[in-house]
Symmetry: C2
């Protein structure tokens, strides 16, 4: 408690000291003539000035272990939203938390809740008057849940839920995915309000939508989008910051995401406990043998998925997209290695072709050093397939089921007592998303301007191999699915979902500036 | 301490009460004319009379968590031997513990010790005088280490190291493998001494040899056998009770064991931490994908091992062995299921053909319920092959290595940065053991008599699918490798190495009688 007091005292003093930096032109602000470009530099300085305070804000967010896959984190999911709501309230937002009722046949235990935050702040009166009824509405999406993390996974810091600030990096679970970006949005809004004053903030209508179940497949999201359709039906721009740059050195704008289907594959032997492999090895059907047979039948050494018909609906890679890959600066050897040599092929494999990853094999002798000679009696394997346009998740699920059922029938054919197989989808299937022709899309053109203001660079136009269900469903909920952009601020080596997740201080601060610049550029479109 | 005191008081009173049962003919005993067959029934009654005391002895042994695979059990390994040594001392044995020095290149950390107990009690003077220098020497082998066990593995009892006596069963780790049999030997000897008196006990030379590293491949065994060769060079009969009956209903004598080679197969990706499967899935080499490819290439759905040349040295199954399978009573559906229909084929697959079992896959997402979307960066798989005559473990190891290296080269061929593979043998390879023509072997004929005395049945002659390195090496250390027999007392469903390991009270007691009867029958051969 005493330490907490001193931290708060420090923050309070930091806050007091804001007034000592050079203010922007008071008259311009008063009259909301801030939209003169010279002001952007002042805003950036104001962001730099608040660095320690902003990092402390991130530390508070990381400190809340809002792990959506753990039922014991239920309270922390809600607490995270309330924590964000407090900051939004100070910014003038009205906000509320809504919790959809999950159906009984949901994969998520119906007693668990994944709340959503809806925040709204209308454009400042003075600015609206100048926009001649052309005022626009921006929707910011983020998620404040994280994947599990513990020291024993291989973290350098003893507690992944205590932010470590070291050598210019901010380390901890959620720093890049996605608490860091959410906090950066809140920070950008804080500076804008501070600098513009109440009369001129915000310079356009701003809505914010925060989720707490993104990492487990967004339970309840589709329902809440349907229940709250009016919240979304006046959105002009939807911006999502939940992915990373393709590299460590160059910003990018992201126009595509892969989708996903996730399976658990249980193979159970015709016996109820592990067997001694000396006594029983030979005449009994071994679940782990069948499991590796099935898993090895899913994908070949070159990453080609072996499930029949799975490539039938995949859109071909055509110009100008194919050509655009050549101009992308991508020579990263992060995480260390790709097995394909050509850049274009690496990018196509990450973005444009489906991939199948095997994540885990549960139920076998998996303790380090254990040399038990047993035949495990039940094996649960997990694998997922990343989908691309125009693959339909339901069709892919059916293809996987048909294929594995055939292989299982082949394994058990002609045998007496044999293994049984149970295949389940652990996630709702998520389709891929993409914004065609981004280089001519106004949403991207505005974002490109913002990137140039912060980094002095034209961003790369990239896709992304990951999956964000919210992007798919939100792009269907807003009036135009093409007014959607992914604006990443973290870098390729940030380690989302991995041990030692981090964001650099530099990218956290520049990201805040990018978000402010983006709001600034959007607000210019209203005149 | 108080509880311990009461237990000891109880045992003391139990011991005092021995004198109250009907004694055998005092004169016969005094003159060592006990070898009249009618005495055997008296000995059996004396065993029954001591039931609670004998079970309490087993409880004491189970209570010592002598898990050879855990370094924290080092003290308990030694303690188990000292505990057995105390009982042997009371029986008149001289005994000592010897600890071989393990070489630095041993797989076992050289600081760990796996001690052996050597016990010896010469034939009673009065009996030796009657044998006309034909007195024989019996060597009893057992091991007092166990495999790991914990409640969370799925045990019904909260502590697998506290014997649970329930519904006629004795449950706990080691009850059947191999503390139960070792205690049964000690119990049989106790009754013989009690009933015969000091002058006539033992009726032949008895040596005992106890091991503490059997479950981890018998480290130091070969060295100690070489160091202590004189201890073994006068052995006439070697009896080992470290396997189980083929069924639950019929005793058997075992004349064969399979051997074993045990491998760990590490596949490491060209990156140092788990990767996000969305961001990296496609262009990176996935260690778990290669692992399942390699593992699935080891064995087919019918248990046929796919490693080239591995069957070259396997002896064919010929008559009369093949015919002998038909007379074996084996219709057990324990553990529930075999995938082959014919009895002879089940037996051949258990005993006569090599089998390959995959035990574990370490390093993947293996926590229950975890749905992480990662590409694990390092997978360690474990598998073993049970060997049969005349397969040479070193040749099999070489075949496995050649095959996996070829498959790995195939997987990585033409790729830029790829996985690396490391194959290791975790055990010293153990060859198979068998005693040809057991039905005409005097050692088996004597044991068959003992079985008939206890169970009133002719035993089945069986092989065993498991591996006991001590049998292989001891049969080479004693003068004649054909004077070796396996004399099991537990049943097929006892669950050695598994959850809820047990032995029934009935089989524990009958086993004690069998051991006594076996010593009795052996001693008759001296005249």
């Amino acid at each position: 408690m005493i330490i907490t007091f001193w931290i708060w005292l420090l923050l309070f003093l930091t806050k007091l000291s804001y007034s000592s930096h050079e203010p922007i032109d008071k008259d311009s602000a008063k009259n909301c003539k801030y939209l003169d470009e010279t002001h952007l530099e002042n805003f950036f300085k104001a962001i730099d000035y608040r660095k320690d305070f902003f990092i402390e804000r991130l530390a508070q967010a990381v400190d809340i272990p809002s792990v959506s896959s753990q039922s014991e984190s239920q309270g922390d999911l809600l607490y995270m939203l309330e924590w964000a709501g407090d900051i939004l309230k100070n910014l003038g937002f009205s906000w509320q938390i809504k919790i959809p009722t999950l159906s009984n046949n949901s994969k998520y235990r119906s007693s668990l809740k994944y709340p959503f935050l809806f925040g709204h702040l209308p454009i400042a009166q003075k600015i609206r008057e100048q926009t001649l009824n052309k005022s626009k509405t921006l929707l910011i999406y983020g998620h404040v849940d994280v994947v599990a993390a513990k020291y024993s996974d291989g973290w350098e810091q003893s507690d992944p839920f205590v932010l470590e600030r070291k050598n210019g990096f901010l380390k901890g679970r959620g720093t890049t995915d996605d608490k860091g970006p959410v906090v950066a949005w809140l920070n950008a809004l804080s500076v804008l309000k501070e600098e513009l004053g109440n009369d001129c903030f915000p310079p356009l209508n701003i809505k914010i939508f925060l989720e707490t179940g993104e990492e487990i497949g967004s339970p309840g999201l589709r329902k809440i989008l349907s229940n709250e359709a009016t919240f979304f039906n006046d959105i002009d721009y939807l911006v999502v910051t939940d992915n990373s740059w393709l590299t460590n050195h160059k910003p990018c704008l992201t126009y595509g995401l892969r989708g996903m289907v996730y399976f658990s594959l249980e193979i159970k032997g015709p016996f109820n406990q592990d067997l001694h492999s000396g006594i029983y090895g030979g005449p009994v059907d071994e679940p782990l043998q069948e499991s590796v047979y099935l898993l090895a039948s899913l994908v070949d050494k070159d990453g080609k998925i072996l499930i029949p018909e799975i490539y039938d609906d995949v859109l071909p890679l055509e110009e100008p997209e194919n050509a655009s890959y050549s101009s992308i600066q991508f020579n990263d050897k992060n995480p260390g290695a790709y097995y394909v040599a050509s850049k274009n092929e690496v990018l196509a494999k990450k973005w444009r072709w489906p991939s199948l990853s095997i994540h885990g094999v549960e139920g076998s002798v998996s303790q380090k050093g254990d040399v038990k000679t047993v035949i495990p009696h039940r094996i649960l394997s997990k694998f997922s397939i990343r989908l691309v346009p125009d693959q339909d998740p339901e069709r892919v699920k059916a293809l996987v089921r048909t294929y594995l059922e055939e292989l299982h029938a082949n394994w058990t054919m002609g045998k007496e007592d044999t293994n049984t197989m149970t295949l389940e989808s652990l996630h709702e299937g998520i389709q891929a998303w993409y914004n065609p022709n981004p280089q001519n899309n106004p949403v991207f053109i505005i974002a490109e301007k913002a990137v140039k203001r912060v980094y002095g660079l034209k961003p790369d136009y990239t896709r992304e191999g990951g999956t964000i269900p919210a992007v798919v469903y939100l792009s269907q909920a807003v009036p135009s699915p093409t007014n959607v952009i992914l604006l990443p601020i973290g870098t390729a080596d940030d380690g989302a979902h991995s041990q030692n997740e981090k964001i650099s201080e530099q990218h956290f601060m520049n990201g805040t500036k990018l978000m402010l610049a983006y709001i600034y550029e959007l607000s210019l479109t209203q005149y």
